[in-house]
């Protein structure tokens, strides 16, 4: 959304980021509001992971400028490609086969918490350093590493990015970078989109959602790689 607002509508970067942060909060609110009963975020899991993610974001924001941003982007793209590859590998490694996997269930027990905490902390650092949302890192961490069902991981990640965005948005508000006339159509649009997404998610097949996640990861990795090599 930031490149769209910045390049297409010629808005200054700070206003574009402020508007985009409000859009993230509206999306998080919309998904929570419209998710069918029993298909919402795992709040306990979200808060535990967010502890590390928020700490990482603070550390990342504080250390921005110390690290070489281009090198970080190349490193980050490598990690995103590895995650996409592992997600694909995991889908076909499951003993029961990918067809029997479900998007949502309540009787699961997350595993590999240390990996989850480490990955969430890393996602936070990347968010703080590069100003990107960490959702596309958090979903594969929960799904591929922690054995959280993909639908639950998506809803939980959405809950988490709302908190991360809220931590930054008041900085933009204090600086006078929030423009209600821009926020209204953006928030309304993503809110309606989230409503439609929640409706579609309940009817999606796991294979489609997993494929979309892998495609998104590859595109994000490519974008980071190109940006890092530029």
């Amino acid at each position: 959304m930031v490149p769209l607002l910045n390049l297409l509508f010629n808005l200054p970067m700070r206003i574009a980021v402020g508007t985009s942060l409000m859009a993230v909060i509206a999306t998080s609110a919309g998904v929570s509001a419209f998710a069918p009963r029993g298909r919402g975020a795992d709040v306990g899991l979200a808060l535990r992971l967010e502890m590390f993610s928020a700490a990482g974001a603070i550390l990342g924001g504080w250390s921005a400028g110390i690290f070489n941003e281009k090198l970080l982007k190349i490193l980050f793209s490598g990690i995103v490609f590895l995650t996409a590859g592992y997600t694909l590998f995991k889908a076909y490694r499951k003993p029961q086969g990918p067809a029997q996997e479900v998007l949502f269930k309540s009787d699961y027990e997350p595993v590999h918490w240390k990996w989850g905490f480490t990955g969430s902390g890393f996602a936070g650092i990347v968010s703080g350093l590069l100003g990107v949302g960490g959702g596309f890192i958090k979903v594969p961490i929960m799904y591929a590493l922690m054995d959280v069902p993909l639908g639950v991981a998506t809803a939980t990640s959405n809950f988490m990015v709302g908190i991360t965005a809220a931590a930054s948005v008041f900085v933009y508000y204090g600086r006078g970078d929030l423009y209600p006339l821009l926020i209204l159509p953006t928030a309304l649009g993503v809110f309606l989109g989230a409503m439609f997404g929640a409706y579609v998610l309940a009817r999606l097949r796991i294979n489609w959602l997993r494929s979309a996640l892998i495609v998104l990861l590859v595109l994000m990795g490519l974008q980071m790689l190109i940006s890092g090599l530029d």
Binding site: F9, A29, L47, A166, S168
Partner: protein, 124 residues
């Protein structure tokens, strides 16, 4: 009790999910409604709009009585209301966990809330 262990009864988890669902819906609708009302009031008031318009008003300025009724004030209130929703959801979670006597979850939620405020204050 292990830090990563699920100990909450399913009815408490369901209650938390229901309340987060309700508060998200309520706050979103009210916030968007206020922004929409403010937008209409601004259009009526100014008769022409140039994007990006005026930035959201500081909260201190909103206390000024004649601004309370203005379109920009209503839009700003909607924006602020939406922005505090994630923190409000954590407050609700703390309350539900506290009632369920799940003090480890209360502690985790308080740490996240503290990090949220710390992050916002560092950025100021």
């Amino acid at each position: 009790m292990k830090f990563t262990e699920k100990v909450l009864p399913s009815d408490v988890i369901q209650d938390l999910e229901n309340r987060i669902h309700t508060i998200s819906m309520l706050v979103s609708v009210v916030a968007l409604g206020m922004m929409a009302i403010g937008f209409v009031a601004t259009v009526i008031d100014t008769r022409h709009l140039i994007l990006p318009g005026t930035s959201a008003l500081p909260l201190a300025q909103m206390i000024n009585t004649h601004l309370i009724l203005s379109g920009l004030a209503a839009m700003t209130l909607g924006v602020v209301l939406l922005a505090v929703l994630p923190a409000a959801r954590i407050f609700w979670a703390i309350w539900i966990y506290f009632r369920a006597r799940s003090f480890l979850d209360v502690l985790v939620a308080i740490v996240v809330l503290a990090e949220l405020f710390l992050s916002a204050s560092i950025g100021q």
